[in-house]
Point group: C2
């Protein structure tokens, strides 16, 4: 059992849209991801997803509105809700979600990552 330092883990990688697993509990994963640019519209049929912004401002586009998530704020996107994360400048995010969650949900694309690194 060892503690996890978020800054140290974020320093481990530079690539965008590629979540890294940094913890696992109760069938859920804790992941870090760096975002820049526009992701794909997608939804997760079975998983709610929590986005906690650690650095920068994340623009979460929903079909009916856009929510700006700033540092030390989080948003829970319930299952079934279409969303598109957009980062005009680089954003660092911590994710909490079931271990079964695929990053692109129902929208398989070049962004899809099936094998995630543990860092």
């Amino acid at each position: 059992m060892e503690k996890v330092n978020l800054a140290a883990k974020f320093a481990h990688f530079k690539d965008h849209w590629s979540p890294k697993i940094i913890g696992e509990l109760n069938g859920q994963h804790v992941k870090l991801v760096k975002l820049q640019g526009e992701f794909v519209w997608h939804k997760h049929d079975e998983e709610d997803e929590l986005f906690l912004v650690c650095k920068g401002t994340l623009k979460m586009e929903l079909r009916d509105k856009t929510i700006l998530i700033e540092e030390n704020e989080f948003l829970i996107v319930p299952k079934g809700i279409e969303h598109r994360p957009v980062a005009d400048e680089e954003v660092w995010v911590m994710l909490f979600e079931p271990a079964t969650t695929l990053n692109t949900g129902d929208a398989e694309s070049g962004f899809t990552k099936r094998e995630l690194d543990r860092i």
Copy 2:
């Protein structure tokens, strides 16, 4: 669907050892709690528990060692592992754990909180 600002939520309460629910997803709760002093030794038979320190330094006593968790660090305490959180000075913590989790686990005491506020 609304974003949650951690600082604003922490400003909502002052009491210690009384977790507040600030989010729910996939059967898990996101909670905030302020700690000061020594808690009781306990374990959770069924739930892993994540402690993310938002302010201060949390001393997590385990039977074989003590782990100091600083700001922006987290520790996952697996189910079945006895632990005792100690805060020499006030510590602010975000918890991520199953909705079924009782704060004192198997050690019912004056610290036990069965009904948690949602803030």
